[in-house]
Each structure stands twice: as C-alpha cells, then as structure tokens.
Subunit: 336 residues, 2 copies
C-alpha cells in the first residue's frame, strides 16, 4: 500500500481526464463538484489508495455553532457531537453566535485561524461569503436540522418531521379527537412546515376539517406554547387536543390548561415533540414524538469528519426516524 501512495494527485487527475483543481476539490470533500463526477473521481482515488492526510494531523477541532442554546434540546445535540469528536481525538469549540440565517461575521475569522476539521451548525444556515471561505480552505460543514431550505449540495442531518406530525395527529384521531389544534415553530423553518403538513395530511385522511385558527406558528419555548394554548382554549368551540411543536411548548400548553381549570389528559390531550430527557418525568408524563437529537449530533459529526477525510459520501441529506412515545398526557376526549 505504501507504494501506491507515491503516485501524485496530478497523475491521478490526468488519468481521470480532469484538472488537478477538480481532483483536489474531490479530495478535500468539497461539494461543488457534480455528484456523478465526484463519484467517478473518487473511484480513481480509491483505486490508487490515495487518501488525504489524516484529520488528526491537520486539525484538532470540530466547530459546533448554535444561534441559541435551549436547555434540554441543545444539550443532547452537544453530547452527540462531543462524543464522536472525542472518539476521533478532536476537541469541540462551541460558539453561540448569530441568528437562524448565519453565525455573526467575526465568527468565520476565528474558524479560519483555528482550521477545524469541520463545522457543525445547529438550526442555522450559513451565509454565501462564509460558505465560500470555508470551501476555499477545504473546511466542510454540516447543518443539523436546517432552518430554511438549503440547496441540495449542502450536507445536513435532520429527522422525519413530516412523519412526526402525521403520527402525533393520527394518535389523537385514533383516541377519538376531532378538534385538534397544532402549535409549531417559526413559519420560516422547514421543520415547522413539515410537521404542520404531516398534521394536515392526517386530518385530511380522516376526513376532519381544520379551522385555520387551529394552526399556530410561534417559537419553540414554553411561553409561546402557553400563549397560543390560552387563545385556543378561549375559543367558543375549543379544540380537545393540541399537538405542540416541542416538549417545552407542550409544558406551556399544559400550564395554560391548568390555569383554565382543565385537567390533562381528562379535559385536554397534549402531544409534545422531541422527547427530551425530562419528558417522562413530567406530571403527567408527556406523550411525545421522539426525535433522536443525540444521534443527529453524532451523525452530523461523523458526516463532517468523513467529508474532512475526503471519504466518499453517498448522500448529503440524512433524515433520522422519529417515533411516537405514548405516555400520560393523551386520552380520549371528554364525553359531550
């Protein structure tokens, strides 16, 4: 094998009939080479046993960027990233910066100085110029649960949001609910839209009408859940069940119900989303959609490290499965 390594990258490029620049892009895990071309060139590299220098010789960091830290949710992602990075001998540089659209402009300078193996962005996008700079240095990035609708060449790890919305709503319908409201996240986030679409599909499939007032976009915090639930419960013909966009929103909805003198699940059913570690310790224990947050962090880190090594990556978008966890916050609707 040592002998095989002696061939130059230029020679392999010549053999494959592409420029050294293109071959170098593929080697460095860049995503601006057409997938078919990349696959072909990777075969050439593999045949010659040509690999990029190991990550550990090149960098000792993985960059992890949040635009905000939200207690239970973020921690599980951090654990996943830290675990995989640690196993690869890398340290995690944690940054809380910017907004959903990109980290703040100074962040990129630090990244270019530190030359990380890769960047994992959570719930955020990355601006065009930032992306260019990372590309030109051969620093790959992966987005966990992208906020917007990233172009197909942006590597990302998410979960099955549409299916989650569908399963949550179906569970409520099977319990006998007809008037089901949905509180979700911001309207400009893919995951919010996908969950609401899952909710709509379940309602439509069951032949149930949706009052437009029942669909609420908000944030993922308890306060927003409480506010929307209070408004929903004050309607003349209030819903008997609420599908919340996060476990925290579900807590807010339960607080609003308690304030209104309603018991959960006897008078109102509530389904959460995420299945944070505390969900089973709530009273009532939360029925929720399990989102594999820790695994999303792990997979994003594995993907970025594979890209950093110039390894072949079959797919740049990975959606992990979600599933329904039935606990104590859902029940058949009150009679009458």
């Amino acid at each position: 094998m040592a002998e095989k390594q002696r061939i130059t990258l230029a020679a392999i490029a010549a053999e494959a009939g592409v420029s050294l620049a293109t071959m170098s892009k593929v080697l460095n895990g860049r995503t601006d080479v057409a997938p078919a071309t990349r696959a072909r060139l990777e075969e050439h590299l593999a045949r010659h046993g040509y690999t990029r220098r190991k990550v550990s010789q090149r960098s000792e960091f993985v960059e992890l960027v949040f635009h905000e830290l939200e207690s239970s949710w973020s921690m599980e992602v951090i654990e996943g990233v830290e675990d995989v990075a640690h196993a690869a001998g890398l340290s995690v540089v944690l940054t809380v910066s910017g907004d959903r659209h990109s980290p703040d402009p100074h962040w990129i300078d630090g990244v270019l100085r530190r030359r990380p193996a890769g960047v994992v962005l959570v719930f955020s996008e990355i601006s065009g110029p930032q992306r260019e700079k990372l590309h030109s240095r051969g620093v790959p990035f992966v987005i966990v649960d992208p906020a917007g609708d990233p172009s197909p060449d942006v590597p990302s790890v998410g979960s099955a949001n549409w299916t989650g919305g569908l399963m949550a709503t179906r569970h409520l319908i099977e319990l006998g609910h007809h008037r089901i409201a949905a509180i979700t996240g911001p309207e400009d986030m893919m995951c919010s839209l996908a969950r609401i679409d899952g909710y709509r599909s379940a309602m439509n499939a069951a032949g149930l009408d949706i009052d437009p007032e029942w669909i609420r976009f908000g944030d993922f915090h308890p306060g927003g859940g409480e506010r929307h639930a209070r408004e929903l419960l004050a309607m003349p013909d209030p819903p008997t069940a609420i599908f919340a966009g996060s476990d925290l929103q579900a807590l807010g909805a339960i607080a609003a119900a308690t304030d209104a003198g309603l018991r959960v699940p006897d008078d109102l059913s509530v389904v959460g989303y995420d299945d944070i570690a505390l969900a089973r310790w709530m009273s009532p224990q939360l029925t929720t959609i399990h989102q594999p947050l820790r695994r999303m962090g792990e997979e994003a880190t594995r993907l970025v490290l594979r890209l950093a090594e110039g390894a072949s990556v079959d797919t740049l978008r990975m959606d992990l499965a979600t599933h329904l966890v039935v606990r104590g916050s859902t029940a058949p609707p009150p009679v009458g």
Copy 2:
C-alpha cells in the same frame, strides 16, 4: 503611561526585594505565592502600571470541562461561560471528560497544546500532576462548585449551599411540617453536605427531631429522587415533606408520590434545588432554591480571565447567594 511600561519586571522585583521568579508568578496569576506577599507585589506592579500581555494576544480559548453533561443544569453554566468568553473575544473549547476527581489524563496534553487563557472546571477537581502542568505554563483554572473540599488556594465559584438548605427547610417548617426528609447528592460532595447541614440546623432550631432514615444521599438525577422518595413514602410514619437536592430529584419525588396515589402539594410538599428554567413550567410549578447557575459560569470565567491577565484578585473563593422561590409544590401538611 507608556513611559511607565518601560520598566522591566526584574527591576520591579528588585525594588520589592523578591526574586524575578516570584514576581513572575504573581504576574502570571499563579496561586502558589502567599496571599499577603502576592498582594504586596501586586501593589508594586500596579504602581508601575505593569501588566501582562493581553489575553487576546496570547490565546484564543477558554477551556470548559464537565465530567458529565446534565441537561438543564449544565446548559445554564455553559451559557454563562460562553457569554463572558465571547465578550472577551475568546472561543470556548468544551470537553466532557473524566470523573468528579479530575479530567482524564489525555485532556491535559490538548490543553497544553492549545494554551488557553484559562480553564473552567465544573463540578470536578483537578489532579496534582495536571495542576502542576497548568501552573508551570501559567494557565490559571477556576472550579465551579467543587466536588470535594479544595485547598484554600484553589480558585472556585460556588453558591450558598448551607443557606439554601436552611431556607428550604425553614419554609417547610413555617408551613407546619414536622416530618421533613432530605434527599441530597453524593456524600463526597461539599454542596451535598452543606445543604444537609443547613437542613439539620433549621430542624434543630425548630426543636424538631430528625429520623436518620430521613436523610438520603444519592445522585442529582430524577431516578434517584424517585427511588428514595418511594422508600420514604413506604415508611410506617412517612414524612409529609421532602427537600430534594435538585429540581430533577424533585421531579422524581413527585413521580413517586403520584405513583403512590398522593397529590403534590396537598398530600406531600416537595422543595427542589437549582431553579432550572423549566421549574416554573412544571405541574405543579416547583417551589425551589434558586441557584444562580448562569452567573456562576459567568463569574468563574471572569475570575479565570482576571487571573490570566495577572490582575489582582481579592478572594479566590466566591459564593453567590441563593434564595427561596415559592411556587406550587409546597403547602401546609394534610390535617391529621
């Protein structure tokens, strides 16, 4: 002022009648110089306007080390550290490593390579050899809520645990409770012991006996709270109130009470500890001792950066105040 800076450190040392090595130690924020000597030498430095090179020229990291990440608790500390580091133009390297006694042995090699401005350890100690290595490189460290009983020259930030235990117990006594149990953390942690001592003092001051069975050492997780509470509630003459060592343990205790057919707070009062962000969103809302976790992270980072700059530090141990937050999980004991 520019002129004043021209004097050499050796000249200041000579003027103060100490070796250059000692003066250098003080400048580098090392803690192995007697406090009185350090204070005197810092006056000399200050008079000449002599300061160490700025942190930003020297390092771009603060190291943050946890031995385990626990969702709600850790996140608030991380936010505090990140906020102060970010404002100082530094990035946070997050490591989850080792146990309560020290990070794992490889961790120190990475730290020495990265040459951080300082190290913030959470809920952990640091081994003798690791401490020596940090000292010899002039890398200061600060411990947040030390697990054991650190020697007085170890800089640390904690909170008023004894007072917290006293206030929680007094609140229950004022509500009319006589049979009050306490579930706390591991027996080898200062904070656990201090809280239990506060509990004892409140009970003694009120002339109330303590059944030794009522005092439980465990972990700070919900499962431990549930297990201990189940045992307490199964006693022939069970307590009417439980003071838990963390909000998570309190959730576990409430779950055990619910399982036993008891209502909180009507049949059993529960006081938590920490006041995590979710405490007010629980049902019932948790009565708890507010521990300023975010501020503990902030102060620890400020302290380590002051030490890194060689600034004068009046005290190496800082305990932030705790206070009682009365919500819905406590009430007078059931009649009879």
